[in-house]
C-alpha cells in the first residue's frame, strides 16, 4: 500500500501529488505515473524514495509513515529502503555486476549474499555476466542489473523512472513483458513513471495522469483511457476524438442522453453518478478503435437507426498492425440548419486493423457510413 499527499513549490509550477495505491489481487501490481516530461512524475518518485524533500504532506509506505510534515517525520532514504531505479540506472561503473547487485546487502553473511546474488542473476537471466563491468553490457542488460540491485534489498516498493526509455523499441517491448511476469511473481507493488502511452496501457492497474505538477485524474486503466474526466486528460492520452455539443433530451431513467452535434445527433450511455440536463453543453469522446466502419456510402442508405455518421477518409497513417484513418464528416445534403450549426470541418480519428483495411479495400473505398455505439461514447459536462 502506498499513500501519498505532498506539496512542493518549484520554479515553474507547484507540485501537488495525492493518491492512494492498493494493489489488487490478480492485477499487475503496477501504478503508472503518466504525463509529459517536466510534469512532476519523477519528483514524486524521488519524494517517495526520500531523496527529494517536499514542502509539506504525508507519505506512507505499507504501514510505515516515512514522511509527515505535521509530525515532523522525515525518514532518510536509508531507512525507507525502497527499490529505486533512476532513468540513467546509476550503475556503479567501477564495480562488476555481482558487486553492483550486492551493494545494498549490508550485514548479511557471505553465503546469504552469494545466494541472493545468484538467485537474482538467474531471475534476470544474467548468469554469465557477474564479473563484467556495466559499460561492457548492453542497455537492456544494464537495465536488468539496476532492477536486480534494487530487488536485492527486498524492498516493500519498487520505483522505476522511465526504465525503458533509453532502449530500442524491440528490447523495450521484451523487457516490458518480462517486467509484467516479474511483478506478478514477486508481488512487490511497482510505481512506474512513463510518458509512453503504450507502456502505460500495457503495465498499469492504476494510472495517475500528471500535468504541470497536478494530478488531473487518478483511476483504473479503463477509467483513464475510456472515461477521462476532462478534455485535457483525453488529449494527454492521445484521444483526438473530442466533439462538443448540447444535450437535446435525457431519457427518463438518466440512462441515455441524446446530444446534438452540428447537424447530427448521437445517443450516449450515461454512467452511474452522472447527471445531465437538457440544453447543457457537453463534450463527447470516444477511442479511435471503437468506431465501426459500417458500409460504403454509395451503397444503400440507412434509415431509422441511430448513431450513424457519414465520413470520408482524408488522410491515413499505416502503423504496421493497424491503420489510423483521419476522416472528415460529410455534410448532410438536405440540411436546412442555420449557418452557425452547419458542419464545419469536423474530423475524427479511426483506427482499424490492417487486416480489416485490406478486406474493406479502404485504399479505394474512401467514403463510409460510420457507427459509434452509445456505450462507447464517453460524455462529460463542459
Amino acid at each position: 500500500m502506498l499513500e501519498i499527499a505532498i506539496e512542493k513549490k518549484l520554479k515553474n509550477f507547484e507540485l501537488q501529488s495525492c493518491f492512494e495505491f492498493r494493489p489488487e489481487p490478480g492485477g499487475n501490481n503496477v501504478l503508472v505515473l503518466f504525463g509529459p516530461s517536466g510534469s512532476g512524475k519523477s519528483i514524486t518518485l524521488k519524494a517517495i524514495a526520500g531523496i527529494f524533500a517536499p514542502d509539506s504532506g504525508r507519505i506512507v509506505i505499507g504501514e510505515k509513515v516515512v514522511y509527515d510534515s505535521q509530525q515532523k517525520i522525515n525518514l532518510k532514504p536509508q531507512q525507507r529502503r525502497v527499490g529505486y531505479v533512476p532513468q540513467n540506472y546509476a550503475l556503479f561503473p567501477h564495480l562488476n555486476v555481482a558487486e553492483n547487485i550486492s551493494y545494498g546487502l549490508i550485514g548479511l553473511n557471505r553465503s546469504e549474499i552469494v545466494r541472493r546474488v545468484k538467485n537474482l542473476l538467474e531471475l534476470m537471466q544474467l548468469q554469465d555476466l557477474e564479473q563484467r563491468k556495466p559499460r561492457q553490457l548492453s542497455g537492456g542488460q544494464q537495465q536488468r542489473i539496476a532492477l536486480a540491485r534494487a530487488l536485492a534489498i527486498e524492498p516493500p516498493l519498487l520505483l522505476l523512472d522511465e526504465p525503458f526509455s533509453a532502449l530500442d523499441a524491440n528490447i523495450r517491448q521484451q523487457l516490458r513483458e518480462e517486467m509484467l511476469k516479474l511483478s506478478r511473481r514477486l508481488a512487490i507493488p511497482i510505481v512506474f513513471v512513463t510518458h509512453d502511452l503504450d507502456e502505460a496501457y500495457v503495465l498499469a492497474d492504476r494510472i495517475a495522469v500528471y500535468n504541470q505538477g497536478k494530478i488531473l485524474q487518478y483511476g483504473s486503466r479503463h477509467e483513464i483511457f475510456y472515461r477521462p474526466n476532462s478534455e485535457d486528460v483525453a488529449r494527454l492520452l492521445g484521444n483526438r476524438n473530442l466533439l462538443s455539443g448540447e444535450v437535446l433530451e435525457v431519457n427518463s431513467a438518466q440512462k441515455q442522453v441524446l446530444v446534438q452535434l452540428a447537424h447530427f445527433q448521437l445517443w450516449v450511455d450515461v454512467e452511474a453518478g452522472q447527471v445531465f440536463v437538457p440544453n447543457s453543453k457537453v463534450t463527447l469522446m470516444f477511442r479511435p478503435e471503437r468506431v465501426q466502419l459500417l458500409q460504403p456510402l454509395d451503397e444503400v442508405e440507412l434509415f431509422g437507426t441511430t448513431n450513424y455518421l457519414k465520413a470520408g477518409i482524408i488522410e491515413e497513417i499505416g502503423r504496421g498492425s493497424t491503420h489510423l484513418l483521419k476522416m472528415r464528416l460529410l455534410d448532410e445534403s438536405t440540411s436546412d440548419l442555420p449557418e452557425t450549426k452547419k458542419i464545419g470541418k469536423i474530423e475524427l480519428e479511426i483506427e482499424v486493423s490492417s487486416q480489416l483495411y485490406d478486406q474493406l479495400a479502404l485504399h479505394k473505398q474512401r467514403d463510409w457510413w460510420l457507427r459509434i455505439d452509445a456505450s462507447q461514447i464517453h460524455i462529460i459536462n463542459q
Binding site: Q78, R81, A90, H94, Y103, I106, A150
Partner: protein, 286 residues
Amino acid sequence: MEVKVTQSLKPRFKFPGQNRFSLNVFWLLASGLVLILFLVVPLLAILGRTLASNILGEFLADPVVIEALRLSLITTLLSLLLTVIFGTPLAYLLARYQFPGKNVLDTLLDLPMVLPPSVAGVALLITLGRRGFVGEWLERNFQITLGFTTGAVVLAQLFVAAPFYIKSAKAGFEAVDSSLETVAATLGSSNWRNFCRITVPLALPALLGGLVMTWARALGEFGATIMFAGNFQGKTQTMPLAIYSALEGSGGLNQALALSVILVVVSFAVLLVFKSLARYTTINQE
C-alpha cells in the same frame, strides 16, 4: 594530471589514417624540440656534471645533505597528510553543495597558487608568527611558538600547496554523478560507506593527481619557508633551502649539485610512481 590525454595521444608520429611521416608532424616536432631541449638539458647537465666529478658519494654522507633530505621528506609528508585530512571534506563540500559566496571562496582558495610565495611568507608571519595576532595568542595561552620551527615549514608548505589538491579533488568529485550516491543511499547504505566505496574510488585519479601536484609544490617550496620558518640546518632547512645556502656559503657548488641531483632523482621517481598509479586506477575503472 592529464592521464587520459597522455593515453590517447600516445607518441606515434602520425595522424590517424596516415602512414607517412607528414610535413605537419615535422614542424610540430621541430618547434616542440626547442622547449624539450630547454626543459631537459639543464636537468641532464646537473646529472652529468655531478656524475663526472664523482662527488655524489662524498656528499651522501654529508650531514647537511642528509638532514635536508630527511626534513624535506618528513615535512612534505606531514603537509600532504594535513592536506588530505582537511582538504578532502572541503573539496567535497565545494563540489556538491551550493551556498552564497561559494564563488568568492573558491577564488580565495585558488589565490595561494597564483601569489608569489614571499607574499605567503609575509602573510604567515603576521598571523602565526611570534608577533602575529594568532601566534601571539598561542604563545601567551599555550606556550606554543610556531615561527622558525619545523612546524612552520609544514604550515608554509600547506599554505602554498594545499590549493592544488583542493582544486583537483573538487573537479574529481564533481565528475562523479551524484545520482550514484543517492541511489546508493536508497539501497540502505550509509553516506560514509557510499563516499568510501563509490565516490572516492571514482574520483581517485583526480585525487592522486592533486596529491602529486601538492607534493611537488611542497617539496619545491622556498620563499614562504625561508621567511616564516627561517633557514636552520636540521630544523627548517629543507632541500631547496640547503641548495641556496650551499651556493651562498660554505658548501659550494659541488654541495649544491649533489643536493640538486638527489632532488631531481627523488622527484622523478615519485612522479613516475604516482603517474602509473593514477593510470592504473583509471584503467581499472573502465
